[in-house]
């Protein structure tokens, strides 16, 4: 047999029989092939970007997913002490921008918030102050803005005194929004767990007017949060104060309402109009809303309109009252109008008048700020404040609907209360605590936009949004009981499972598992992935396979 020896074997060198490294491949720094490189970047999710009170929603959802309700609540409270309330009344723009929408409907973020709020109430999870206690702050008005400012100052360790002209705290949550949307029992219990253990004193039935200047001397700082309390009744023949929709709601909320019969005409197109019309239905009336613009231009929230129509409210669009005559019942003369959008004035169509007879009239044509604070407030309109909620008097701050920045929502008022608390703290300590980052993003997420195109939809299947239970229409109209119920734990679990966690790394490890060069590792103590650039050859499979846009890429330096 012939000599089976290769040239190298003949010269005494023996190499393996196939391409084999003698050591590990760590020798080969495949990173030198790279011209692009991946990086990790958490992005603020679309829901969090528009959240009115600034929640880090995906992080909260992740904690709920892990059944850590108390921790989720803690994070929720970093931005909002009243989740049981906002979870019921917030217009929830978060859900409108939720990217899950196209795959079974948006995540029920608001219901998750409500669930956590109720969880706090049922388990009596009190809010606590960190201390040390210092400084005394006065707050005028116990609506959402005042409550929020009081809460955020108190947990920072300030003594807070809240002056409220009404018998109880809550502002429009209590005296405006009807209890079929937010039961007073929920509001009471929520306020109790927030304030019971905090150094906050409420002084009720104390209306502050000119004496605010005295407060400025007695306290280290004063915050005005007294909302818009005056109904704007149009100046037409026959109209008057006693037709105020806001007053009507307040009477009902105070428990001194009378059954009504016949028909009610509600003038306006905002939340107040719908709450009035829906309350009147419950008192036994037929309700019709008359609005000067078209239905799609109504300032009311979507939930107001859909629920109102469900319950049987009639809507007459593009009409404006010009005269009211009383002769037993009322005769309202309307003119027809044309309208373009919310901003431009409506045009009255000449000779289009017609009359309507009705038993009752309620005006819900807007509310305005009372003129009480001469020095910082013009004759008409809100208190002038800077971006940091300061007035022209350095000791005096203002937030919520009372200001020119009137948020017009509960969650927005809560956000302003929180930001004002930081401003007051900065003023008193001469610090510049990062002013008012809107969203307390826990993982330092960047506002870098994540869109449905950036989500890898191959990883998500269609999952239907869970339905919220609501009382049937007929039974609803018999009383002022709450019409919807809180999602149960199973439905909440289902909802959090549906969340994509847009822009928020949930440690799914896809990037690491798919990396063909083993260049990605996870540091479990820091809870972070990192790319070893010695071996990353820039294929960007990791970026592509991240289901939720937590990675990006850039050209690598030569």
């Amino acid at each position: 047999m012939k000599n089976l020896k290769t040239p190298l074997q003949q010269s005494g060198i023996n190499v393996p029989i196939s391409g084999q490294s003698l050591k590990t491949t760590a020798e080969n720094k495949t990173g030198i092939w790279r011209n692009v490189e991946p990086f990790y970047l958490d992005r603020i999710s679309p829901c969090a970007q528009v959240c009115l009170s600034g929640h880090d929603i995906p992080v909260i959802i992740e904690l709920v997913y892990e059944n850590k309700f108390e921790e989720a609540l803690k994070i929720l409270r970093l931005a909002n002490p009243l989740p049981a309330s906002t979870g019921r009344v917030c217009p929830a723009p978060c859900e409108s921008s939720c990217l899950r929408k196209s795959l079974g409907g948006s995540v029920s973020i608001k219901q998750i918030e409500r669930f956590l709020g109720d969880f706090a109430i049922e388990n009596r999870i009190f809010c606590l102050s960190k201390g040390p206690h210092r400084g005394r702050i006065a707050i005028i008005g116990a609506g959402p803005a005042g409550i929020s400012a009081a809460y955020f100052l108190a947990i920072k360790g300030y003594f807070v005194t809240v002056f409220e002209e009404k018998k109880k705290a809550g502002g429009l949550l209590r005296y405006g929004i009807p209890s079929f949307r937010l039961p007073k029992r929920i509001l009471d219990r929520e306020l109790e767990i927030v304030f019971k253990q905090l150094p906050v004193e409420f002084i009720y039935e104390k209306r502050i007017t000119k004496d605010y200047e005295k407060l400025l001397r007695q306290f280290d700082s004063v915050i005005i949060t007294c909302g818009k309390s005056i109904s704007q009744i149009p100046d037409i023949p026959g109209a008057g104060e006693k037709m105020s929709g806001l007053t009507f709601l307040e009477q009902i909320n105070n428990g001194d309402s009378q059954p009504l019969s016949g028909s009610v005409a509600v003038i306006g197109g905002g939340s107040t109009a719908f709450d009035c019309a829906r309350s009147a239905l419950r008192l036994g009336c037929d309700s019709t809303i008359y609005y000067r613009r078209s239905k799609k231009e109504m300032p009311a929230f979507e939930h107001d309109i859909t629920e109102g129509l469900e319950e049987g409210i009639q809507i007459v669009e593009n009409v404006i009252p010009i005269q009211i005559d009383k002769n037993g019942d009322y005769k309202i003369t309307f003119a027809k109008t044309t309208s373009k959008d919310r901003k431009s004035a409506v045009k009255i169509i000449p000779n289009s008048e017609f009359a309507v007879t009705t038993d009752h009239i309620l005006f819900a044509t807007g509310e305005k700020q009372e003129h009480l604070f001469n020095k910082v407030q013009k004759e008409t309109g809100g208190i002038d404040v800077s971006q940091t909620y300061r007035t022209s008097d350095p000791k005096l701050f203002a937030a919520g609907d009372v200001t020119v920045m009137a948020p017009g929502t509960v969650a927005g008022a809560i956000l302003q209360g929180r930001l004002t608390a930081t401003s007051v703290h900065n003023y008193l300590n001469k610090t510049t605590e990062p002013h008012p980052a809107k969203i307390p993003h826990l993982r330092g997420a960047k506002d870098d936009g994540t869109t449905i195109e950036k989500i890898n939809l191959n990883y998500f299947q269609e999952l239907r949004r869970s339905a919220q239970k609501a009382t049937d229409i007929k039974s609803r109209l018999k009383n002022f009981d709450e019409i919807s119920s809180t999602l149960n734990e199973n439905s909440v679990a289902w909802e959090v499972k549906r969340c994509f966690s847009c822009g928020t790394c949930v440690y799914c490890s896809n990037c690491m598992n798919y990396c063909p060069d083993n260049a990605i590792s996870f540091d479990s103590s820091k809870k972070r992935f990192s790319v070893n650039l010695d071996y990353c050859k820039g294929c960007l499979i990791c970026v592509k396979e991240c289901p939720r846009h937590c990675m990006g890429s850039k050209y690598a330096a030569a």
């Binding site: 190298l8 490294s21 080969n28």
Partner: protein
């Protein structure tokens, strides 16, 4: 004690794989191979052996799976046919270049298009240069025995083996088969102890970049190992004879010793030819038969030995290299180049896509082959 069973060619493959205790089997169905993996699954379900069976989404993945497994030093198997084998092509190079003792059964099926599920050898012969050993079998018994031989030799020389059987004629036809007992198999096929393997405690990589001087070096070694394989096949065949009384040879002859004419072919065509040889001998024609059983490594010496004894060789190929002629014929001619006493050679191709190769057809071919006046070599379609 051996036992006897009626088995199809495909069942014979499955039984042999089970007795060889293959550890990892990648499976993907394709007619006419499918009954092999079905039977393997049956045997595994009956606990005859306990392999890890991996269902994959293509033949490419089936081969990739067992390549990965083979690197860890376990015994592996897969089966395929035709387009499936073609899809594995890239990985066939990986298996051989990686020096992995994988065994694959290929049931010969004509390549598409036009679709055909019937036999011819173009699928396996298209993989001639991938570095695999190739064994062409003619009976279910030979198939069974060759699977054991393939594992044994592959593991000795570290080259993968392809055991080839004709579609339907062999794969789906039942014959009595003698199945050796386990003790015999243990003697013939000891547990595999790899000389290198993927080992997480001693990390190294396989298939890495090779600079030119090393690349040719490992290719040289692969080719040397092919030569060594011929010796090992021969040794193993002897041992098999001792253990079972059967031997298959590298090239098999039938009444070839004193023949003026030799009919040279492969696979089941050889068994169809035997009675024809007997008949023609009776009629006075000095004809014999040569069957090429081991096609890679190519048996130069054996081919020379038999063919220089005759006047004329009539080669029958069930395959075609387009623009040339039958592939066995090409190889035989190249083995005889410049050899003293080389015979005249006639090349015939027939039986493609399952076209029947009957005794009459063989007889006609032989008669034609003996009568044709020859000017250089001749190629004709049958």
């Amino acid at each position: 004690m051996p036992r006897h069973e009626l088995l199809t060619g495909n069942e014979a493959v499955a039984h042999a794989v089970a007795m060889a205790k293959a550890d990892v089997i990648g499976i993907y169905p394709i007619t006419p191979q499918t009954t092999i993996i079905e039977e393997i699954c049956n045997l595994a379900a009956n606990k005859t052996f306990s392999p890890k069976i991996v269902h994959v989404e293509s033949e490419h993945s089936a081969m990739a799976t067992i390549i990965g497994a083979a690197f860890t030093g376990v015994r592996t198997f897969t089966a395929t046919s035709s387009q499936g084998l073609a899809l594995m092509h890239e990985l066939l190079h990986w298996a051989a270049g990686g020096r992995l003792p994988i065994v694959l059964a290929n049931v010969n099926r004509a390549m598409a298009p036009g679709w055909s599920i019937w036999t011819d050898q173009n699928d396996s012969l298209s993989q001639r240069d991938t570095g695999w050993m190739q064994f062409y079998c003619e009976s279910a018994q030979e198939v069974l025995d060759t699977i054991f031989l393939a594992y044994r030799v592959s593991e000795q020389v570290l080259i993968p083996s392809m055991v080839v059987l004709d579609a339907f004629v062999l794969s789906h036809t039942s014959e009595p088969v003698e199945i050796p007992d386990n003790e015999t198999i243990n003697k013939f096929l000891p547990n595999f102890t790899p000389s290198f393997k993927l080992d997480i405690d001693n990390p190294c990589s396989f298939g890495a970049l090779l600079r030119p001087q090393f690349y040719q070096e490992v290719r040289h070694k692969l080719n040397d190992a092919m030569s060594e394989a011929l010796i090992k096949i021969n040794e193993s065949d002897k041992l098999w004879k001792q253990l079972t009384g059967r031997e298959w040879g590298i090239v098999t002859e039938y009444r070839a010793d004193d023949a003026d004419y030799l009919f040279v072919t492969s696979a089941t065509t050889a068994s169809t030819a035997k009675p024809v040889i007997d008949k023609l001998r009776k009629e006075g024609l000095k004809i014999g038969l040569i069957k090429i059983r081991v096609f890679r490594p190519f048996p130069f010496e054996q081919v020379k030995k038999y063919l220089t004894k005759c006047k004329r060789a009539i080669i029958f190929d069930r395959n075609i290299s387009y623009g040339h002629h039958g592939i066995f014929a090409q190889e035989i001619k190249s083995a005889l180049y410049g050899v003293k006493n080389s015979p005249e050679i006639l090349c015939y191709t027939g039986g493609l896509g399952g076209k029947d190769i009957t005794p009459q057809l063989i007889e006609e071919t032989i008669i034609k082959g003996t009568k044709t006046k020859l000017n250089g070599s001749l190629f004709e379609w049958i």
